[in-house]
Symmetry: none
Subunit: 145 residues, 2 copies
Amino acid sequence: MSEFIGTVGGGYDAKKGRISVPSLFRSQIAGPGALEIILRRSRHKRCIEVWPKADYMAEVDARVEGLSKLSAEYQSVMRKLVGKIHTLTLDPDGRVVMPKELAEHAGFEGELQFSGRGAYFEIWNAAAFAEEEARLDAEDEGGDV
Amino acid sequence: MSEFIGTVGGGYDAKKGRISVPSLFRSQIAGPGALEIILRRSRHKRCIEVWPKADYMAEVDARVEGLSKLSAEYQSVMRKLVGKIHTLTLDPDGRVVMPKELAEHAGFEGELQFSGRGAYFEIWNAAAFAEEEARLDAEDEGGDV
DNA sequence: TGGGATAGCACGGGATTTCGTGGGACCACA
DNA sequence: TGTGGTCCCACGAAATCCCGTGCTATCCCA
């Protein structure tokens, strides 16, 4: 199981729409053969989620386990979890071209932040990330974490 | 399970941002292969917490056991426990380069103090540590510890 | 019990490799 | 022949490794 840990900065090559996956995370993208990743836009946040393909598909399988493929729930889950995602392969330098739809959703330009979430990691516009962290940390004030 | 016991002094190489993990604690950082540690800033104190990676991740795993990786709670827990930490590997001399963010939070310069807390240990600016100890000891006056 | 040899540890400074990044070449397809 | 996508190469910066050195604590033996 992959472990995406910590947060690092990086740049967005607006000219080519290209990002370089930080070495820290690249080494965690396992899998047979080429390094395949799943990208999807976060539903409620202005960021992109990145998963190793095999891990993501395992989560989907777990989610629909036991359901008939003809059932309405199977169809609904699949529409949301696999209908809207992008599959990309890292190039030899560990970079990928970000689909425009995703780059726009997350407001990519200039500086980015890559933040580990264990099984996956998120990519943020650096300024938006700082705002969001400050907001959530303030909410948590007084917690025992 | 590791046992970090006692308090020892050490230095901070400001030029390279490097610290040498005291031999007393180094021998307690177990794990397969390379010696990996987790660093995180203490939420309420001006110090850095250091954990053996395996032990820290075991705590995290226990916290999210049974949760779907697609759930909001998994995401929230991981943001706090995994997104904000740093993974470092001891170099052949038992040293690590302290991330700037952490060195600043704890005010590292000149002399440091490494203080065991059982499962982990803390790193303090030596002067700040002395202050904090004096303050807490005064509070405890009359206690039976 | 004192003194000298030895090993381990902390520390400083270079040398080497890796990583991120920009730009250009090549190929497929239209 | 234009266009988009992928691959390849090269450069600068930064992280990593690898030495050598001095000090301190330990051990051994007289």
